[in-house]
């Protein structure tokens, strides 16, 4: 009896580090919370020069191994100021997915900023994203550019008319004179209806078109790379390729390296 009890106890203790209340429950330590704000503080400590150089990627979802490869590739680049993860860090928004992805992102040598994607909001994902990264809508200025990070995952909220928050976006797009460019970064692009609320597409596109300082609207979600204009309004849209590969149509693993010089956006697709 004592031997069996000992065997069971060893099995019990060695099998797992902790008791899990639910896949949707989390007990994050201080180093795993409020990461966007912490990374913005890191970014502030590295003042911008004439060129803002940043990496944009997204849709890691099920591909955490591939995310590790991407981190290695980004770390080999020089003079990158920060990295945008443009949504869908996780597949189902569970606590362990968030932790596994964050563990890989922590290996980046430069600050990273997470934008919420539709998959990140599934199940209890919204609570997790807010605890781990912070607010779903946020903005910051770096150099001569204001970056507005926006939750455009309307579909998850049953297209209730409040997502994206166009009132907040309107306020954020009113920038002081010294800001030369406004760049919007979100997960779902506006032409991706009905996942982007169809009623809010004209509101969004008009806001961008009517602001002289709009530089580019950056998105993920669509899997493949795209750069161009779609609404006949001179607004450029950039869509970054996904980290997760579609097994039926494998393509080169890639991300986008962008530079803002003055009021010009230069972008390059980097294959790794």
């Amino acid at each position: 009896m004592p031997r069996i009890t000992a065997c069971l106890f060893i099995f019990f203790v060695s099998s797992c580090d902790y008791f899990q209340y639910s896949p949707h429950a989390f007990d994050l330590d201080e180093s795993q919370t409020n990461l966007n704000a912490k990374n913005l503080l890191r970014l502030e400590s590295n003042p911008a020069d004439d060129t803002i150089r940043f990496v944009i990627t997204g849709d890691s979802q099920l591909a955490i191994d591939e995310l590790r490869d991407l981190v290695e590739s980004v770390n080999s680049l020089r003079d990158v100021d920060f990295v945008f993860i443009a949504g869908d860090l996780t597949q189902k928004g569970t606590a362990k997915e968030y932790i596994w992805v964050q563990r890989e992102l922590e290996e980046l040598d430069v600050p990273y900023l997470a934008i919420v994607g539709n998959h990140d909001l599934e199940r209890n994902g919204e609570s997790l994203f807010k605890t781990m990264f912070g607010q779903l809508d946020y903005s910051f200025s770096y150099g001569n550019t204001k970056f507005i990070c926006l939750n455009t995952n309307s579909y998850i909220y049953n297209n209730n008319g409040n997502i994206p928050d166009t009132d907040w976006l309107t306020q954020e797009m009113e920038v002081p004179e010294e800001v030369e460019n406004v760049t919007i970064v979100s997960h779902i692009p506006p032409w991706w209806a009905p996942q982007f609320d169809p009623d809010l597409v004209p509101v969004y596109t008009n806001l961008l078109a009517n602001n002289q300082k709009t530089l580019v609207s950056i998105h993920a979600h669509a899997s493949s790379f795209f750069f161009g204009q779609l609404f006949r309004d001179d607004v450029d849209y950039l869509v970054v390729p996904s980290i997760m590969q579609d097994p039926t149509t494998p393509v080169d693993k890639s991300y986008v390296l962008a530079e803002i010089v003055g009021s010009v956006l230069i972008h390059e697709k980097v294959i790794y």
Binding site: I4, C7, C16, A63, I64, K130
Partner: protein
């Protein structure tokens, strides 16, 4: 995975001591009386309470558990209803070593479905998997001890080590970055056959 193999290698040889049908058959009234159950963790909530019922010569057990996760641990209070089915292939009788009846069920295999109070959202799930539903599986074991000598009243203590379909699939796809032990969760509980 090595730990599981090790555990099975340790436990399976014990089956040679297995004795069947040596527990007094309960009366009809007792046979259909549900067993109050309490569980800690294991994906069913921080604490879950419910009822269980053993049948098929105690080889099968069905449980309904209502679990709770405080807001502190989930950003919002989670209520979880879990339907659980467990199979116990064999049991070991330790009555000959003790004054009280004592049975050990070294292996249990089971699965459960948990339904959450999460808001209804559009999602990318398959049609038969709702945003608020989670499917789990587990291995475990239990010890059944008589409360008083010759009383036929038992208390069971059980443990479960398992995972769910999401974490298992992600582990399958990401063997370099996700460790097997990271997808496991542990639950312990007690059930009262009074």
């Amino acid at each position: 995975m090595r730990i599981l193999y090790l555990a099975l290698a340790l436990i399976l040889p014990l089956s040679v001591f297995c004795q069947e049908n040596d527990q007094t058959m309960p009366s009809n009234e007792k046979r259909f009386r549900p067993n109050p159950t309490v569980q800690f963790a294991g994906g069913t909530g921080m604490i879950s309470l419910g009822l269980g019922h053993s049948y098929a010569n105690n080889k099968l057990e069905s449980q309904v558990l209502s679990g709770y996760v405080p807001k502190k641990y989930a950003g919002k209070t989670l209520w979880i209803l879990t339907l659980k089915q467990t199979y116990f292939p064999f049991k070991l009788n330790f009555r000959r070593h003790l004054k009280k009846s004592c049975y050990i069920y070294p292996i249990s295999i089971g699965g459960s479905v948990s339904i959450y109070n999460l808001p209804s959202k559009n999602s990318t799930e398959l049609p038969f998997i709702k945003n608020s539903t989670m499917y789990n599986y587990f291995l475990g074991g239990k010890v059944e001890i008589e409360v008083k000598e010759q009383s036929s009243q038992f208390v069971e203590f059980y443990y479960e080590i398992g995972s769910n379909y999401i974490e298992t699939y992600i582990y399958h796809l990401n063997r370099s970055t996700v460790k097997f032990r990271e997808i496991l969760n542990v639950g312990i509980g007690a059930s009262f056959h009074l």
